[in-house]
């Protein structure tokens, strides 16, 4: 990384192929609550046949830019600059001309497929509507075209799908329908606004495959907006990075990941935990200090990143940088792009080697045996009478695990695998139906209301959604002071001081105590939630996807906070996440759940390297990795985790397993096999471990 290697030029003089040209775009919203400068200065180009990835964190203006291209901004927005679609300025068009363009020549795919589809219309009619409106097909031709489209987006059995309503389809299928609608009129420009954010990792992988294949099949330019660098690495040809409403860097994708020329880009890249299979997670996560330049502030004559930049100099404070060429096809908004190196963010600190893969015998602080939780009651055929017909949902079935003092147990699995139920059962929010749960030897009662005060203080929880974790009508100090009041014996004055200490320990000024949650950002809210969890000096903290709703740079801050607290206080953690990279960074041991059963468990590195359960293997293969050259074998699972009401006859994964060996998987429950190299590593599979190790040689990296 010490030299600048010029990458292949992208032939920027080929202007005839440019579909979208955005120059100096600025979008300002004038609202009763103030002026919001969503986009300050953005320029980019999309050519036919290429996929441009637009990446940035929340609030950087990327979605606003996409909506501006559609001409779909509300009346309160004022735009400056130009958006040229095939040479015509979108801003100058009449509404009728815009209507002609939209759906026909420019199409958009949105983030949430469930709200993008009309819930009262059959899916087939919705697609037909698009074709009939723009291409004026008659009914029969429209139906034919719909079938073709559904096949092209990988939905088998189009006859059944066209007759279905959106709620009868899974999230992945819904998103494919939305993509089919977007492609219906063979648009020239396809805009995609985070289309995979709400989907599971395995579903996301299949949708990304579809998007990647679209580039070859469809003669369109694609603008793909996302905050996930892994997704960008997989699908994009060129990348544009945005920060605080400005485009700060743009380059071909390999060039960007190998030679980033802007401090923010490097910061983003170093905030992502090393993906599993790419070497030990040996270094601490860097995080970008400070917070994003506020959208309400007037654009100063200076670099917007200057307050957070490690190489800020006087020139950066006095003069506003513009996008300047660094190489062919590579531009950066930094005066000193030449001097930008990964080391500007400081030497990566080595992590404490706290992970012993062979598990020294640490005393377990929490043990669970045979944990079981079903939801719902047996339904009766005639409401209150008659035979029992509808069994309850088997969310968690006979799970065993334990967590050692000061250790982290990571729980992974897709939605529906039972991870949240496990956390809620441990904490007592959802009473378990069966099973023993012991905290330091004491048995815990099923519901939190039945537990002693000490037990409640010892087991705390952090939730996924930081905004709803705090009462929106009450100031921050309420939750923290109440926790202190309940769990500690301090008097009022001492509680006030301790609350201030807690906030400072999570990096928030004590003046935040009087603020309402709505005045804080997502990351700050989550830190307040952490402060509340730390308040009672807990023995174990259950964190349910605590960073999933946060931006990458904030994730790193929160993860570092958790790790620091664990080191100091020797708190045990149960960390639930769907992001394998994060789980691997954080956990000492991992539990892989599928449909309420344990597929695999053991020390982190052992679980994430061969031999692994086929499900773990599929998860590892599906996760997007921020490296465009990552050579991953594609293992794709179809369908979703089943909602299981009946006991599995054989293996719980038999329905989707890519390594299914035959009828034995359907009829016989698989044995639990122990890895000879690591006594705590167990896999529940019919395939013997040696065979798995051989089969998975190409796909899962061997432990070093």
């Amino acid at each position: 990384m010490s030299e600048r290697q010029p990458q292949a030029a992208l032939g920027r003089d080929d202007a005839t192929d440019v579909l979208l040209q955005v120059e100096g775009l600025a979008v300002t919203f004038y609202t009763p609550r103030g002026t919001v400068r969503a986009v300050r200065d953005a320029s980019l180009q999309v050519r036919r046949g290429e996929l441009v990835g637009l990446v940035g964190e929340s609030g950087c203006g990327k979605s606003t830019l996409a909506f501006a291209v559609m001409g779909y901004l509300p009346g309160t927005a004022a735009t400056e600059g130009s958006i040229l679609f095939e040479g015509r300025d979108i801003a100058q068009l009449q509404p009728s001309e815009l209507r002609d363009l939209r759906g026909n020549r420019i199409a958009m795919v949105y983030q949430d497929p469930s709200t993008s589809l009309n819930p009262t219309m059959k899916v087939g009619s919705q697609i037909e509507e698009v074709v009939r409106e723009h291409l004026h097909f008659d009914a029969a031709t429209a139906r034919e075209r719909t079938k073709e489209l559904l096949e092209s987006v990988g939905l088998p059995d189009p006859d059944r799908v066209t007759q279905a309503y959106p709620h009868q389809l899974s999230g992945g299928q819904q998103q494919r329908i939305v993509i089919a609608m977007a492609l219906a009129c063979e648009p020239d420009l396809l805009l995609m606004d985070e289309p995979t954010t709400g989907l599971d990792v395995t579903t996301e992988a299949t949708i990304l495959d579809l998007v990647a294949s679209l580039k070859d099949r469809v003669n369109a330019g694609i603008l793909y907006v996302t905050h996930n660098l892994g997704v960008i690495a997989r699908v994009a040809d060129r990348v544009v990075v945005m920060y605080a409403g400005q485009t700060v860097e743009q380059a071909p994708v390999r060039e960007l990941f190998k030679n980033p020329c802007h401090p923010y880009t490097i910061g983003l890249l170093s905030c992502v935990p090393t993906p599993p299979g790419e070497g030990e997670a040996a270094t601490k996560l860097q995080s970008i200090p400070g917070s994003v330049f506020a959208a309400q502030e007037v654009t100063p004559e200076a670099c917007l990143f200057v307050d957070r930049c490690p190489m800020a100099q006087d020139r950066c404070r006095g003069e506003a940088p513009v996008m300047s060429d660094t190489n062919d096809g590579h531009q950066s908004r930094c005066f000193f792009w030449n001097e930008v190196r990964p080391e500007i963010w400081g030497e990566a600190e080595p992590r404490e080697a706290a992970h012993n893969s062979n598990g020294e015998q640490v005393k377990p602080v929490l043990t669970a045996k045979g944990l079981r939780r079903f939801y719902g009651r047996w339904g009766r055929k005639y409401l209150f009478f008659g035979p029992r017909v509808r069994p309850p949902v088997r969310a968690v079935v006979d799970i065993d695990f334990d967590v050692g003092v000061g250790k982290s147990l990571g729980i992974v699995g897709e939605s529906g695998s039972g991870k949240t139920t496990v956390a809620h059962s441990v904490v007592g929010l959802v009473p378990r139906d069966r099973g023993d749960l012991d905290l330091n030897g004491e048995s815990l009662s099923a519901a939190v209301e039945g537990r002693s005060l000490d037990q409640k203080a010892a087991l705390r929880m952090v939730f996924q959604n930081p905004t709803s974790s705090l009462n929106p009508k009450l100031p921050i100090r309420h939750a923290i002071l109440r926790t202190l009041q309940k769990f500690t014996g301090l008097n009022q004055q001492e509680r006030g001081l301790r609350a201030e200490e807690l906030l400072e320990a999570v990096g928030l000024d004590s003046s935040y105590l009087n603020r309402r949650p709505s005045e804080l950002s997502g990351g700050q809210q989550q830190r307040v939630a952490l402060a509340g969890a730390f308040a009672g000096d807990p023995i174990l903290i259950a964190a349910d996807e605590p960073v999933s709703a946060l931006d990458v740079s904030i994730q790193a801050q929160v993860l570092n906070l958790l790790a620091e607290h664990q080191r100091d206080q020797k708190t045990a953690h149960i960390f639930i996440s769907h992001d394998l990279g994060v789980v691997r960074y954080v956990s000492d041991e991992i539990l892989v759940l599928y449909a309420g059963h344990v597929a695999e468990s053991g020390p982190t590195e052992a679980v994430l390297s061969a031999p692994s359960h086929p499900y773990t293997e599929a998860l590892l293969s599906a996760a997007p990795v921020p490296d465009p050259d990552a050579d991953r074998t594609r293992i794709r699972l179809s369908g979703t985790v089943p909602t299981q009401r009946e006991q599995f006859q054989g293996c719980f994964f038999a329905g989707r397993c890519p390594r299914k060996i035959g009828p034995i998987c359907d009829h016989t429950p698989p044995p639990t096999r122990t890895d000879p190299e690591s006594s705590k590593h167990v896999i529940t599979c019919h395939i013997p471990l040696e065979e798995l190790a051989v089969l998975q040689q190409g796909t899962v990296a061997k432990a070093t």
Binding site: R33, G34, V448, F463, P472, K473, L474, N514
Partner: protein
């Protein structure tokens, strides 16, 4: 609110003035909310007028509400149209209509407010507790509420009043107010299931939010969670409900008066005034119009005021925040 200095411990002597100051500050902020929008201003005026009438109406009225008025020659001034001396004219007994309207405000407003408030209070407690508890208790309670709601409100009111009004009151001192109390009680019963339904649905959606789960994890008892954590988030809905309930309460009281179940004559009761003037509607319409306009302006005023307050809460604050 931001901008406040974080509270340090007060010196003991400043407590009194601090609480007075905060009360007056609270009042001033409520006042500014009311007057911020045009809907709020109109509503505030109407409600203020009615409240003033309720409190000191008889004192302000030009004539007595019950005495007959005579010309100089001794004839009773019946069915006078609006004149300079009688702005709203006189009724069939020569009583000044303006004075009767002004004096009648007190009873109808007092009874409606009391009834609606009692109904809302009980309804909120029942609805929120039932939703929080969930399960069979919730099902059962809601079916009871459905049963109560299925009675037409006027019929239920008549039922209660006709059966109980002519029995002696449980205690001596209640007797003069017995009928009013029954009407209050009836309005409350009529409103409880409706309010309970609305508050239940709001609570159900809030119950699953993580801050409620956090409170459970802290070991807070159910009553604390319902009233300290969930209730502040339902105030918006509650405000709307209050308007609606109060409007219906007024109409119910007026209807009861119309049917002769309200305040007994000769005391002025708007509903009764309308009822008694039915016979003369063609010849002397002003006798009915005045009380009707009074009822309508009260209902409209309350609705506009609460609407205005809600709109004002959505606007940005003047101070830095």
């Amino acid at each position: 609110m931001t901008g406040q200095v974080s509270t340090k411990k007060d010196q003991p002597g400043r407590h009194q003035s601090a609480s007075l100051a905060s009360v007056s500050q609270g009042l001033r902020s409520v006042l500014s909310l009311c007057l911020a929008t045009s809907a709020g201003r109109i509503g505030f005026c109407l409600v203020a007028i009615h409240l003033t009438l309720a409190l000191i109406g008889p004192l302000l009225a030009p004539y007595s509400a019950t005495s007959f008025n005579y010309f100089d020659n001794g004839d009773v001034k019946v069915f006078l149209g609006p004149t300079l001396q009688h702005w709203l004219g006189t009724d069939q007994f020569g009583r000044d209509i303006l004075s009767r309207v002004m004096s009648g405000a007190a009873s109808i407003i007092a009874v409606s407010v009391a009834g609606a408030a009692l109904g809302i209070f009980v309804g909120t407690v029942v609805g929120m507790s039932s939703a929080y508890k969930g399960g069979r208790v919730d099902e059962f309670t809601m079916r009871v509420m459905d049963g109560l709601m299925s009675f037409p409100s006027l019929l239920m009111a008549l039922l209660i009043i006709t059966t109980l009004a002519f029995r002696p009151a449980p205690a001596e001192w209640i007797q003069p107010f017995w009928q009013q109390l029954l009407i209050v009680f009836t309005i409350a019963i009529v409103n409880v299931p409706r309010v309970a339904r609305v508050m239940r649905s709001t609570t159900l959606s809030l119950k699953t939010q993580e801050f409620v789960q956090s409170a459970r994890l802290r070991g807070e008892p159910a009553s604390y969670i319902i009233f300290k954590e969930i209730l502040p988030n339902t105030l918006q809905t509650l405000g709307v409900e209050m308007t609606v309930r109060f409007s219906y309460a007024i109409l119910l009281v007026a209807s009861l008066g119309f049917l002769g179940m309200g305040v007994q004559p000769p005391s002025p009761d708007w509903g009764l005034m309308i009822s008694q003037s039915r016979q003369f509607l063609a010849s002397a319409p002003w006798v009915a119009l005045a009380p009707a306009a009074a009822i309508a302006s009260l209902v409209v005023g309350v609705n506009l005021l609460v609407d205005g307050i809600r709109q004002a809460q959505g606007l940005p604050k003047e101070s830095a925040s």
